[in-house]
Amino acid sequence: MKQSDEDVQQATGPSAWSARVDRWVARADSDQKLFRQANKVMVERALDGRPRDGVSRNQAYGLRAVINVAAAHVPDVLRNGYRNCYDNKLVPIGSKPARVSRTRERIDGVIAQLVPGSSKEQLYFAAVELNGSGVRFYGDVCLVVRPSEFDEDAVVLDRNSYDLARPPLAPKDGKDVDELLRKAHTIAGTRADVPAMATLKIFDGSGDRGRLVTVGQVSQGMVEDEDYIEVPLARPGNRLSARHFERGRLSAADVALDARIADEAANGPTPDLVDLLWRERRRRAAKALREEGVPLSTVVSQGRLR
């Protein structure tokens, strides 16, 4: 949604995101105003997992922070913890570059300033999900972080923080860190603001609806292709490992491909080695998840989990 001057001026503060949604509701004509208000409540209910009386949050379902990793890494992640670029100490193929990305250093530094008491080395980037299998670009296994590890006060960004390096959010002078920090504040909130962020994200540009949104539709809107709500989780000295994950999720498309490879391995034509390797690693990931007591589910559509 295009940020109005009002949005930018009122970017910070505990009610900033709620106020933005209220302004979005108020901007509609009288008929649509009722639907916008009703859909705002539907999104809140879907993400908070609140019963109809809105009294308490049901932790068994509702919004979650998720990370995606390739199946090959799952056994290691579960046993030794999920790593970021600062504690991975990965020895790459080829040689290490002379320096890390300057853009990433600037953005990570700015995000760290948004997260109280944290440094960029302690940040692990997750995405907000409802029922889907996360950001597939980063791996085929989606690990769902336990709600207890995702505080109400946790900082959340309404988009990939790297969008701060792209127009129209990027400062005219890309190296202007102060301007970058100011822009970062306009996309930042807390976990409590996620329903408001999601409402604006889902209905942005979609045109007014004359019907109520469903939970499945809310879930589909949370992660759309490359567009997601980002969570820089601060984990000082306490990497995410098996005990911090509530569940693993696989996409139905990957599960179907897995099964096709297995069928061809059994009945011919013999799949290629990369197919067999990919499938074998997924089997081992599933085995490791079971051994660590982390249940595994298949997402049959973005909106629905089995």
Partner: protein, 445 residues
């Protein structure tokens, strides 16, 4: 300066990459975030266009390596297909490190260095098995790949000289067309099976607790040899004697009844040691080609005991579609692992298959290793022998075996590279064999 396809972020073990068409800018103050970008993902590696480089550049936060560099400069690819080929092959080669990355996947462990009979050390008793006379068409294919890489290297050097830039390293690749030459590889399969069997015999554990994992590995190898109609075709293999001597006396009772072990007595002659090793691998005495007066005078209890063990081994061998998984149960001899630059303690036939097909230039095996590769491929693509072949001989059996070999070779042709890079880039693919998630054991360059 010329634009090319560059890698923004790479997770070679995960089979994931982000690439963009641009100038080399990962070391600049500002990257061109809006340059055309694609995402690649195993197992298809089909390029998916992205809205921008943002998704890829932020991947480096999550443990992807940042770009692809050689001596401080980015590696560029003229064609996206070549970049895709590189990422795909690096993923395949990374399979060579799976044993060391996942303890649950490791094969039965090697015996301690001071184990063995007659007071001799295990390492002191080992002899390198004599290589088979040939590895069929596989050896010829590997030689062709080696020749092609030298040619490509010379061309690449000229191209870089003409390009005259030091701000990027342009990868160069040329096509290679491999095909089976139809040479006989049947002897290679026997050598491979016996080599793997002997390594497993050496790793027979000393305690009952470790026995199930070992039995899974041995019974599956026995079954694989049976499916490939290798039963009884034991050749004069020096490793058999060594393996048999290594387990004599103190471990036989793990597998055979006490009266069998007592009847065998000790220390064994070469023939008896080899026979025991062969039996542990599931080959019945009456199928052995070894000539020995001592064998024919073996007590009946020994014949009966070994027959019962062999029958049990075959009956409990796993069946089903997980043939690639079974390759990961069979450990490699340490000499093979060393030649292929794999981890000696944990590498398996699955690792060899990944390393030699995806990174053949960095896995310079010999004839024995090529035989192991052919055995792995034949196990993956072969169909179980028709039961009526039994112990018959002649044209049907020969024809069946030839078809198995041709199918395996055709499959290998599809797995080998279709475009060879210059040696500098081929070496990068080889490095994927030792990738780890988290702190690496490989020395930083």
């Amino acid at each position: 300066m010329t634009r090319a396809w560059f890698i923004d972020a790479l997770d070679a073990r995960g089979g994931l990459a982000f690439a963009s068409h641009r100038l080399p800018d990962l070391q600049e103050e500002i990257e061109d975030v809006e340059a055309p970008a694609v995402h690649l993902s195993a197992p298809s590696f089909a390029p998916e266009p992205l809205a921008s480089r943002a998704t890829g550049l932020s991947a480096a936060r999550a443990g992807f390596q940042f770009g692809l560099f050689v001596e401080g400069v980015e590696v560029g690819f003229e064609e996206l297909d070549d970049l895709i080929n590189f990422v795909r092959r690096a993923y395949g080669a990374s399979g060579g490190a799976d044993g060391s990355n996942d303890p649950g996947r490791a094969p039965p462990p090697s015996p301690p260095p001071d184990g063995g009979t007659d007071g001799a050390s295990y390492e002191g008793m080992r002899h390198e098995g004599e290589p088979p006379k040939g590895s069929g068409a596989v050896g010829a294919m590997l030689a062709m790949i080696d020749e092609a890489s030298k040619r490509v290297g010379a061309t690449a050097a000229l191209m870089r000289q003409e390009l005259g830039t030091s701000s990027m390293l342009l990868a160069h690749a040329e096509p290679i067309k491999l095909a089976s030459d139809g040479s006989d590889g049947s002897g290679a399969l026997e050598w491979a099976a016996v080599t793997l069997g002997c390594e497993l015999v050496r790793r027979l554990p000393t305690s009952r607790e470790d026995l199930p994992r070992w039995l899974d590995a041995m019974s599956s190898l026995c079954r694989a040899a049976w499916d490939l109609d290798l039963d009884g075709r034991i050749l004069d293999h020096r490793d058999l004697v060594d393996a048999g001597r290594h387990v004599f006396d103190d471990r036989l009772t793990l597998l055979f009844d006490a009266d069998v072990a007592e009847e065998l007595g000790g220390p064994p002659s070469d023939e008896v040691a080899a026979s025991v090793a062969a039996c542990i691998m599931g080959c019945r005495f009456d199928f052995l080609d070894l000539e020995s007066a001592s064998l024919s005078h073996m007590p009946g209890s020994v014949w009966w005991g070994t027959w019962r063990y062999e029958s049990w081994l075959r009956l409990t061998a796993p069946t089903g579609p997980e043939r690639f998984s079974t390759l990961a149960r069979w450990p490699l001899p340490s000499s093979t692992a060393a030649r292929l630059n794999l981890d000696a303690a944990t590498s398996t036939l699955a690792d060899l298959l990944c390393a030699m097909t995806a990174a053949p230039m960095s896995s310079p095996g010999d004839t024995l290793d090529a035989s192991l590769l052919l055995f792995a491929a034949t196990h993956l693509v072969g169909e179980p022998q028709h039961s009526w072949f039994g112990q018959s001989s002649g044209d049907p059996r020969t024809a069946w075996r030839e078809r198995q070999l041709r199918q395996a070779e055709d499959w290998l042709v599809r797995q080998f590279p279709k475009r060879i890079f210059d040696p500098a880039i081929e070496a990068l693919i080889g490095e994927a064999k030792s990738l780890r998630y988290g702190p690496a054991t490989r020395k930083e360059r």
